[in-house]
């Protein structure tokens, strides 16, 4: 039987080995085992299988290429003083303390957003990987189903890759068999969605990467779910929050603290409000009944069990709330860089405060 394919697109940082995808899938399997259907009737592995898409190699190659040619990315960033709207002057003058954040966490974002050639290469590879797999599976089963789960930078990569391909009527000289008229994803799940923050063309709110029925034009999926943690620093500038996308679109605001890395993929996935819609999508809607779903959501503890420093952690969370307020939602990443940096430092303080029990959801996925 052809299983439902779940494409996984990672976020920032190094993802050169496949451990990240194993971690995400294993976490999802663990989440599924909390529900009777998957425990006693049919395991998640029998319904669906993951298909990781890695694009990190292209970013690393670009950074390495520049480094080996004695012109490091860091040097380039520091010396860039162009006055164009896409200049990187906002990254200049990196201090020793925050160079770690700006370069280790944002280098991927910068390469993706500010270097069109690398952007084009990544987008092209992602499109090929996804649609080659779709074609193979549809050859075996014309009704094979496909969904996407993306995290952080991966949401922007997913959006831009799918939007460009889905809206094209032709590929080369031929009709596009992957256009919205001819193909649709079953569901798209965006965790820590930065597709609006990093948007180019088409803009995230004007895109075909939005939900609708099979008889509605220019819709690339049946259902779309976005999840945003209240203190995730990366989703605060230009948050993704469309108001007229209809009932097929679902945005969840999360406020759980079960691990220190509240931006982490596994921390998002642990929450029933995130994993239940995903499990139902890639298995079947009735796998978890509405009554069971409500019970799981309501009984999910906001804070991790048996925390060593819960009071200090809560105090730090309050500080994070104050820092989040300082972020101007209407401005882009370059104009909020210092606030984002402050939040990242505060999250790391949270890590120190949290104690050992808070490291459980860290995994290899940041």
């Amino acid at each position: 039987m052809t299983k439902h394919t779940l494409f996984l697109l990672h976020g920032m940082g190094n993802h050169e080995d496949t451990q990240w995808a194993d971690d995400v899938w294993n976490k999802l399997v663990e989440c599924s085992s909390r529900y009777k259907h998957f425990k006693t009737k049919k395991a998640l592995d029998e319904y669906a299988e993951p298909f990781p898409i890695e694009y990190d190699q292209f970013i690393r190659k670009a950074l390495n290429r520049w480094d080996t040619q004695a012109t490091s990315f860091g040097d380039f960033v520091e010396s860039n003083d162009s006055s164009t709207q896409n200049s990187l002057h906002w990254l200049s003058g990196i201090s020793a303390e925050d160079a770690g954040f700006k370069l280790s966490h944002l280098a991927d974002v910068i390469v993706w957003r500010y270097f069109p050639l690398e952007y084009g290469q990544i987008r092209s590879n992602v499109q090929l990987e996804i649609f080659r797999q779709i074609r193979q599976k549809r050859e075996q089963d014309a009704n094979a189903k496909f969904s996407v789960m993306a995290h952080s930078l991966g949401t922007s990569v997913t959006h831009d890759s799918l939007a460009a391909l889905g809206m094209a009527t032709k590929i080369g000289d031929d009709v596009n068999t992957f256009s919205t008229d001819n193909f649709r994803f079953h569901s798209i799940h965006m965790l820590a969605n930065v597709s609006r923050l990093l948007q180019t063309t088409p803009k995230a709110y004007e895109s075909i990467v939005r939900p609708g029925s099979s008889r509605t034009k220019h819709r690339y999926c049946s259902r779309m779910y976005c999840h945003d943690h209240e203190l995730d620093p990366f989703t605060k500038p230009r948050p993704f929050d469309p108001v007229t996308w209809g009932s097929g679109f679902n945005l969840t605001k999360l406020n759980h603290y079960r691990g220190w890395n509240i931006h982490g993929w596994l921390h998002y996935l642990d929450n029933p409000r995130v994993h239940i819609p995903l499990l139902k999508s890639i298995a079947k809607p009735s796998a978890i009944s509405p009554a069971l779903e409500i019970e799981a959501v309501n009984s999910y503890p906001r804070y991790g069990d048996d925390l060593e420093n819960i009071d200090e952690a809560k105090s730090q969370i309050s500080q994070l709330h104050a820092l989040a307020q300082a972020i101007d939602q209407e401005r882009d990443i370059s104009e909020n860089i210092d606030s984002l940096n402050d939040m990242w430092v505060a999250i790391n303080t949270l890590k120190e405060l949290a104690g050992d029990t808070w490291t459980t959801l860290e995994g290899s996925v940041s």
Binding site: Q127, S213, S214, K284
Partner: protein
């Protein structure tokens, strides 16, 4: 007063005796949704059904159908399957069957127009013909996913499977009761089997007509990847400023 109450009770009883059984048989209430309503056809189809169902056409492997397809008679094969569906008895769900037939009628009309477009000569064995066929279908607001199963909402706002969402023919296969546990089946299992077999076979039939185009699409995407690789990795060196300037000078193509 007592006689009025007696009369009301009698009518209620009569209602339960005469009306309810048929309603229950048409709309069975279950705690577990049967496989046919949600899982892919390949999960629940029996080998016998696969070979013999006129709605499934043995996945087009029987001699007569294969011969028809060899001669490019796609519409004939599709019409035979749809006729078999039309002939089946959906007594208690006639209105729902009509919704399906409405959509099938529109889809078949688009297919006929597409197949009679200038440039198509019998069997769609050339990429150029397949392109014309698909372009015509798309221009008539149909495509390879026209008959696809949808995730829709029932009256309680719960996600359920159905077809033709956001049209006047929207058709749910089941719905949740208010307790959020039990489910009312809106079509019988036999009806769901019939329709889903037909839908699966028709989708497969249409998909087969554009295989060359799909192959070509992938090949073109592959060429794009190679072009980028040659440009960035096997071409001249790209310092960051070169990459930036070249990037803004070169307009990144839509899907390559």
């Amino acid at each position: 007063m007592r006689s009025i109450c007696w009369l009301l009770r009698s009518y209620s009883l009569l209602f339960f005796i005469l009306i309810l059984p048929s309603a229950v048989s048409a709309q069975q209430i279950v705690t577990e949704v049967p496989s046919e309503y949600e899982e892919p056809v390949v999960v629940w189809i029996t080998p016998a059904e696969m070979r013999t169902s006129p709605l499934y056409k043995g996945r087009f492997s029987d001699t007569e159908t294969a011969l028809q397809l060899k001669h490019g008679n796609i519409v004939t094969v599709a019409n035979e399957m749809i006729s078999a569906f039309e002939a089946s008895d959906w007594a208690d769900n006639q209105d729902k069957k009509q919704k399906i037939l409405n959509q099938l009628q529109r889809f078949m009309a688009a297919m006929k127009i597409a197949l009679s477009t200038q440039g198509i000569d019998g069997v769609l064995d050339k990429k150029a013909e397949q392109n014309i066929f698909l372009q015509s279908l798309n221009s008539q607001d149909h495509g390879l996913n026209s008959l696809e199963i949808d995730v829709l909402f029932d009256a309680n706002g719960q996600e359920v499977f159905g077809y033709f969402g956001e049209t006047e023919d929207e058709l749910l296969l089941y719905e949740y009761l208010e307790d959020g546990e039990r489910v009312r089946l809106l079509l019988t299992r036999a009806q769901v089997r019939e329709w889903r077999l037909l839908e699966d076979a028709l989708t497969n039939l249409v998909l087969k007509q554009v295989e060359l185009v799909r192959e070509s699409n992938i090949s073109e995407l592959n060429n794009a990847v190679i072009r980028w690789e040659n440009f960035l990795e096997n071409g001249y060196s790209q310092m960051p400023w070169e990459s930036t300037i070249n990037g803004w000078l070169i307009d990144t193509p839509v899907c390559t």
